[in-house]
């Protein structure tokens, strides 16, 4: 059996290996997506006061600390049986929306855009943000930097610290904002809405107006008909901070909708011998392997899945774009993995619009930011939508609030089965007997998982290197036939 190794994946937090095994004919026999495991987080947490968890868990990952901080804070609300004040909830959601603006901006311009703006076959040295800005214009580059910078200021102002917020407490937050801060956030929110609109225009110009790209988006190579998961509000609209988890089947029909505390009744984890990462699946459908369809418990929670799982967006401009997307893609739900980039930009616009709504809320500057907990802690579960998928924190403590058990299901892990399936399908469709394996071809395989914005830093962590890409091809006897590499010194 021949073996192709892509090691590690480029532009990805965490060190992953994709092993593609060829059969004797030169076609793809099997594909494995492997990541190393970080060990001992549960043990590390045991014996610590639960109130420390929002600070500790956000250190797991260098990419989405704000998501961990928020899921953890919500788990503490549940643990201490306390309802945060209305202002506290709004401040949390305002910070979280600013975080979404920065995170989605980064993903689109740094990771996704190079493939489309420069083209999937462009050499890696050009297929990056510098190439994108050189082609699209310095003005846009400035807008990317400015939007991120301003929203980091929002995160710092509300959260108390840049990058690692320290404001989440059981029952509320640690500080209020004043009118001067509010006014500045409102300006940033409004400019973020404009940036969201601009980004959708870039997508429209670069991808949708290019028939070759649109055909690729709609191609079977990048399609998987799975269940879709996402948090929704009381009107079944997309919400990142709060609500119930809703799952729709591959036809778009609601399969289940549950409160965070019931997650274990709906999600179970499958284990494979070849990887440390687990594969969450829908318990009430069952694990049927790495397959599509209604009978398979595989689900996805990506921006596209969140839009599939909801009935719409809660803000007007994002709703317009939502309708446009489904009308272009031929109806709802959509299962086109590459269209996830589009959905991500609609979420970016929604997050910015939501910032405007929240910052204009008369309660936002109220000093009533905390309900002091009085109940005895026991068990708490908190769920938010992290940019990379539904993020669950589950803590069990003794009566003093000391952690006895901690379980986390992080965003990327939810999509692990689907990521493996997407890579395999792309590899099977693109690597054919007798066809030369080029870097451009391998990049197309990478494009199959890039939409998941996978971040292995939670489940694992990055290992050294400037993301060199190495592909080794072995013959049926395991002898090395060919090696392709880039970025390896």
């Amino acid at each position: 059996m021949k073996k192709i190794m892509i090691d590690p994946i480029t532009r990805l937090e965490g060190h992953g290996k994709i092993a593609i095994f060829l059969n004797d004919d030169g076609g793809v026999a099997n594909v494995y997506f492997q990541v190393p495991e970080l060990r001992g987080f549960e043990k590390f947490s045991e014996g610590r006061p639960a109130e420390d968890m929002p600070q500790i868990t956000q250190r797991i990952c260098g990419v989405c600390p704000e998501a961990h901080h928020m899921a953890s804070t919500k788990a503490l609300d549940a643990l201490f049986h306390v309802e945060p004040t209305s202002t506290a909830k709004k401040l949390r959601e305002l910070l979280y929306s600013a975080f979404y603006v920065t995170d989605h901006t980064t993903h689109f311009y740094i990771l996704a855009a190079p493939d489309f703006v420069m083209g999937p076959d462009a050499p890696p040295a050009e297929r990056n943000i510098l190439g994108v800005i050189a082609k699209v214009g310095l003005e846009l580059g400035g807008a990317v930097i400015r939007t991120r910078h301003e929203n980091h200021w929002v995160i710092q102002t509300i959260g108390g610290r840049p990058i690692h917020p320290c404001f989440g407490l059981p029952g509320g937050v640690s500080k209020a904002i004043n009118e001067e801060e509010r006014a500045k956030i409102e300006e940033i929110a409004k400019s973020s809405v404009e940036f969201g609109k601009l980004s959708l225009k870039v997508f429209d110009d670069v991808v949708l107006k290019n028939k070759e790209y649109l055909d690729m988006v709609l191609s079977d190579t990048f399609t998987h008909r799975t269940y879709s998961m996402g948090l929704v509000d009381e009107n079944n609209k997309v919400n990142f901070y709060d609500g119930k988890v809703r799952v729709v089947d591959p036809e778009g029909k609601e399969f289940c909708k549950y409160a965070p505390r019931d997650y274990l009744e709906h999600v179970a984890e499958h284990v494979e011998p070849w990887t440390y990462l687990k594969f969450p699946y829908l318990k009430n459908v069952g694990w049927k392997g790495f397959v599509d369809g209604k009978d398979s418990g595989v689900y996805r929670c990506t921006p596209q899945s969140r839009l599939n799982a909801a009935d719409g967006m809660a803000t007007p401009l994002a709703q317009e774009e939502y309708e446009k997307m489904y009308s272009t893609l031929g109806g709802k739900p959509a299962h086109y993995t590459l269209a996830t980039h589009w959905a991500r930009l609609i979420e970016l616009l929604y997050a910015a619009e939501r910032m405007v709504e929240l910052v204009r809320d008369p309660e936002i500057t109220s000093p009533d930011i905390r309900t002091i907990p009085t109940a005895t802690p026991d068990e708490g579960i908190g769920i938010v939508e992290a940019p990379r998928g539904t993020l669950t924190h589950h803590y069990i403590t003794d009566e003093r609030g000391i952690i006895k058990k901690c379980n986390l299901i992080v965003g990327t892990t939810n999509n692990h089965a689907a990521i493996s399936m997407s890579i395999k399908k792309a590899a099977v469709d693109l690597i054919k007997p007798g066809k030369e394996i080029t870097e451009g071809l391998l990049n197309r395989i990478e494009m199959a998982w890039r939409p998941y914005d996978l971040c292995l830093a939670c489940a694992t962590h990055s290992l050294p290197g400037q993301a060199p890409l190495e592909v080794t091809i072995y013959d049926a006897q395991g002898n090395e036939l060919k090696k392709l590499s880039q970025g390896i010194s």
Binding site: L12, L38, R39, I60, L130, G141, H152, L463
Partner: protein, 151 residues
Amino acid sequence: MKTLVLGTGNPILSDDGVGIKVAQEVGEKLNDPQITVAETSEAGLRLLDSIVGYDKVIIIDAIQTKKGKAGQIYRMKPEDFSYAKHLSSPHQINLVTALELGKMLNLMMPQKITIFTVEAKDITNFSEKCTPEVEQAIPEAVKMVLEELVG
């Protein structure tokens, strides 16, 4: 000269946090309003955000090289950092690209960037402590950073 000493890494992931520990110790020995000591777990564009506006930047990070010995310290320039851990987050962009981007967009970029890296042994187990080999290297790394600040 406006100077930034930036420790990078994950303080709860064993040797991954060595850069932050070195920066903290450097900070305890300094009292100069021109020098800012900071820590970050970030890479790529967020790193760019951190260094814009400074004249001189010293970054301390963990590293894993193929033949390195745990605790070994290297003095590097941005061009040859390719195996430094956090400076090359593939989720975003590496430091060299971030610096190029800053120049392209006419941001106020530092004139001099020096990177000290410490060879890590364990970066997969959660712990607030470094391994003994790396722990022992911290005083020397602190000394090197202080000398760099004078030089």
